[in-house]
Amino acid sequence: MIRTEEMLLNVGPQHPSTHGVFRLVLKIDGEIIVEATPVIGYLHRGTEKLAENLQYTQIIPYTDRMDYISAMTNNYVICHAVETMMGIQVPERAEYLRVLAMELNRVASHLLWWGTYILDFGATSPLLYAFRERELIINLLNELSGARITFNYMRVGGVKWDAPEGWIEKVADFVPYMREQLKGYHDLVTGNEIFLNRTKGIGKYTKEDALNYSLSGPNLRCTGIKWDLRKDEPYSIYDRFDFNVVTREDGDAYSRYECRLAEIEESLKIIEQAAEQFPKDGETMAKVPKIIKVPKGEGFVRIEASRGEIGCYIASDGKKEPYRMKFRRPSFYNLQILPKLLKGENISNLIAILGAVDIVLGEVDG
């Protein structure tokens, strides 16, 4: 008789493939994972609690640091929440700038995911290609907002800066270039046999599971559920653009991969249309009181960030600081399905499954 024994294995918190300070306590039987317990909180900064002592404008730079890969959507969600509660009408030009910034950021975010996900499998060159294109987007956003990652670009009622001269043209030029590069990405990775073997049928879940675990974003759409807040609950000016909601049917790591790459194409469509329709002149800031006081009451808004639905709840007692603020952070919710996915899997699939969830630890820990 062979005697087997369970072993406890610690993955992280300093592990390159966890993309941050994320720790997994694994109980393994040979190579099979019996139980996986995620341990989070290493990057917890208490954004929600800090926000209670800050004015609304002061909270915006803190939201940059939650999902630091796509900070524009985070900027937007808090501004959108305050604007909705105060009933502020944002000028058209500002809305276009916001959409352009958010979609560019979504492309950059998916590119970073693409590069690092393939890197997890041991392929180094896709990361370099992804970063080459991401750098162009970061440069564009740097010209617009003055920062490369923590943009702090949006304000309640509009945006901080108007587009610099020639910026819209540069964005419009970027779209065909990126489309060309995307083809190369598919050549480089999508058809690769090793990659296909490592992702197809891995980390599979059903529609019901996805809904029960309140997954959102590509993690939800990979199971075939057509749900994208940009289409289903249009905010900002998303109803003016023609784009598709990308879905795949299989619910495995490969369909999540396909979803994200196809979403880049859809985002490029939006960017192209927004750059075309961009108003020639107009204000970039609505008339907003100098000290922003949200009327007494509660409010909740949600938008489609690159990782899923990000929501912002504000309970206000009429002061210049919120009484309570809560962010529904998609990475945190998406991560919850991980122990279920890992159970019974081979340990060599661990990183492929974790990577496909696409978490940002700043957002998981808040």
Partner: protein, 139 residues
């Protein structure tokens, strides 16, 4: 065609592409005018209104004022002005609220130092930080 050969073709195609990296420490990195680097402070412009210290999300700005030396003139002038770059997040809100543009951003981003004490920048240091100053400060 086999999947991996396609990938190899893409790699080979990229061999002849122009390089995209910078020789960074040897060559300065080109940055846009709006870039948010370490602040430059103009003591003569400051009216000690305290708005920058109030808006700062991390409370990293400490300032004190003193009476104007010329008794005929009203108001205060700046006495000390410190920014703690251990906690400054370069969010740009201080320059946004400054009514006289006494504090502006520069393109200097190299903040690494050998000790934590050196990250406390005082009025003199911030006044002398006058390279690559942002040209257009307000939208």
């Amino acid at each position: 065609m086999l999947g991996w050969t396609k990938g190899l073709a893409y790699t080979l195609k990229n061999l002849t592409r122009e390089k995209v990296t910078y020789d960074y420490p040897n060559e300065p990195l080109p940055l846009p005018d709006r870039f948010r680097g370490v602040q430059k402070f103009y003591p003569e412009k400051c009216i000690v209104c305290n708005q920058c210290a109030n808006i700062c999300p991390t409370d990293c700005i400490q300032l004190t004022g003193k009476k104007h030396p010329d008794p005929a003139k009203k108001g205060k002038i700046i006495d000390t002005y410190d920014i703690n770059f251990e906690i400054c997040i370069l969010c740009d809100l201080c320059t946004e609220v400054c009514p006289t543009e006494a504090i502006v951003m520069t393109n200097n981003f190299e903040l690494a130092d050998y000790s934590r004490d050196e990250l406390f920048k005082n009025l003199e240091w911030l006044d002398e930080n006058d390279e690559n100053i942002r040209k257009v400060n307000k939208a």
